[in-house]
């Protein structure tokens, strides 16, 4: 097992020198301030870009090839089903193209007019009240519930109360599932299910909550927020929500603010979801593991449901939900 050739002392000496110089260089690099370290990083990142792009293309080809091989081995029934789907999607695609062309034409006509266009959507603010246990019990006693024999419900079956919060606004007030609930300009949760008069709420930390969010570094000196990476915020059922799909190349720190993108297009101001409470980077992982503390931890006294609606005219200041929420 042992080799017979001996290592020359000169070679060993130069090796010790190399290790010493290498460790000294590493120590100097470790002590570099962040600005200088970024200057070292930039050329390496730039040099790797062509290969990364090339490998991404190769990966795409590999996925396509694997899919093609998988498709080749599927049975004829699946193939026929896919063929039918393909035809249906092609038809839908053709109709969408036609609709897009029409819309583009209308946009061109609108652009020709020399007047400022009103916003397409505006936010409507629906004040809501949280229904407590007594109110829910009263509703269960005096109102019909939307379940019957088709759902195997027998006479005398007990009605269990849900642990999810309930608010006193439903489809009759124009509330739809997915609408955002605010406490001031902070996000409390989303509408999970709607009935005619009531709706259930899925708070930010509850399982099933998902939202597209964006990170922002806090600015104590009053400068505008610097928005950073986007990610998916998911409720876990624990006290902290989890933020996924943020690459480790993006800068993230504890205390960073997390803003919802749910009301993008009809609310101008950013809606705060929470703050980054914990950041972890598993060895070799491509994405950060981020836990977010919600901005609204306890159910608010008077939540406001944010409903988008078509608004041909410019929304006035009183219609701005954030303004209304602040004035409360």
């Amino acid at each position: 097992m042992t080799q017979s050739n001996r290592i020359s002392p000169l070679r060993t000496h130069s090796r010790h020198l190399l290790v010493g110089v290498g460790l000294a260089t590493a120590t100097v690099l470790a002590l570099l301030p962040p600005g200088l370290a970024d200057k070292v990083r930039a050329p390496v990142t730039t040099a790797l870009l062509p290969a990364q792009r090339g490998l991404a293309v190769v990966r795409c080809w590999g996925s396509d090839a694997a899919e093609a091989v998988g498709n080749h081995f599927t049975d004829t029934r699946t193939a026929a089903q896919r063929e039918a789907d393909n035809r249906r999607l092609a038809e839908e695609n053709r109709q969408l193209k036609a609709a897009l062309e029409t819309a583009e034409h209308q946009l061109k006509l609108l652009a020709q007019r020399d007047r400022p266009e009103p916003a397409l959507l505006a936010a409507r603010c629906v004040p809501a009240r949280i229904l407590g246990i007594a109110a829910q019990a009263y509703l269960a006693r005096h109102h019909l519930i939307d379940a019957g024999r088709s759902l195997d419900v027998e006479p005398g079956s007990p009605v269990l109360q849900s642990a999810t919060p309930l608010v006193d606004c439903g489809t009759n007030a124009g509330v739809e599932s997915g609408n955002v609930l605010l406490a001031g300009s902070r996000v409390w949760g989303k509408i999970a299910m709607t009935g005619p008069y009531t709706s259930t709420v899925c708070p930010v930390t509850a399982p099933g909550y998902r939202d597209l969010v964006r990170l922002a570094a806090p600015s104590p000196d009053g400068h505008p927020l610097r928005f950073g990476a986007k990610g998916i915020l998911e409720g876990t059922g624990e006290s902290l929500a989890r933020l996924r799909m943020v690459e480790t190349t993006e800068p993230v720190a504890e205390g960073d603010l997390v803003y919802s993108q749910a009301a993008q297009g009809f609310v101008e101001l950013p809606l705060l979801c929470g703050t980054v409470a914990r950041v972890e980077r598993p060895p070799g992982a491509g994405y950060w593991e981020i836990w977010v503390a919600p901005a609204v931890e306890t159910p608010p006294e008077n939540p406001v449901i944010l409903c988008p609606q078509a608004q041909p005219a410019e929304p006035t200041r009183s219609q701005d939900p954030l303004h209304a929420a602040r004035s409360e």
């Binding site: 042992t2 190399l18 460790l23 590493a26 290969a51 491509g286």
Partner: protein
């Protein structure tokens, strides 16, 4: 020619770590291509130059991760030194021994770099998870190293035969 080929392979290994590593991972355990490439360079080249290349790969890995520079470079160098000493003292013709050494080097690099970042307070996972992931990554990389070593041996045999034929 050999140096250019080597640099190209290392360049692709580092680029592949940032684009393809998650495609060949099992859960959160993936293959650590730069560390594997560094181990293979040391085992094949067996010289001070190989040690310098390993340190350079460590430095490139440092630049790809947020946090302080030089941590991966130092550990690639120190562990590479031990690997080199072992390679020069013991016979490594067996494929199994080379695969085990590659996996061991990768696992130790993952463990030491992760532990150092955890110890100096950089954002990373807990110590126990670092240890478990280092064991997983080292084992997985050791298994992945087997076919890579077979291909490398085959390439070297072909090149050797062509040289003999030319002579």
């Amino acid at each position: 020619m050999r140096s250019i080929f080597l640099i190209l392979i290392l360049y692709l290994a580092v680029a592949a770590q940032t684009t393809l590593a998650d495609a060949v991972s099992i859960g959160s355990i993936g293959v650590h291509l730069p560390a594997m490439a560094a181990a293979m360079v040391i085992i094949i080249q067996r010289g001070n130059g190989a040690l310098a290349i390993a340190a350079l790969i460590g430095l490139v890995e440092d630049t790809l991760a947020p946090g302080r520079l030089g941590i991966a470079m130092a550990w690639y160098l120190v562990l590479g030194w031990f690997l080199l000493e072992g390679c020069e003292r013991y016979e490594l013709r067996s494929l199994g021994r080379r695969a085990v050494l590659t996996g061991l080097y990768v696992g130790l690099v993952t463990l030491t770099v992760g532990t150092t970042r955890w110890a100096i307070g950089e954002p990373t996972v807990g110590f126990l998870r670092i240890v478990l992931q280092a064991v997983g990554i080292g084992t997985f990389s050791g298994f992945v190293a087997v076919p890579v070593w077979i291909v490398l041996d085959w390439t070297r045999q072909v090149l050797h035969r062509r040289q003999q034929y030319d002579v």
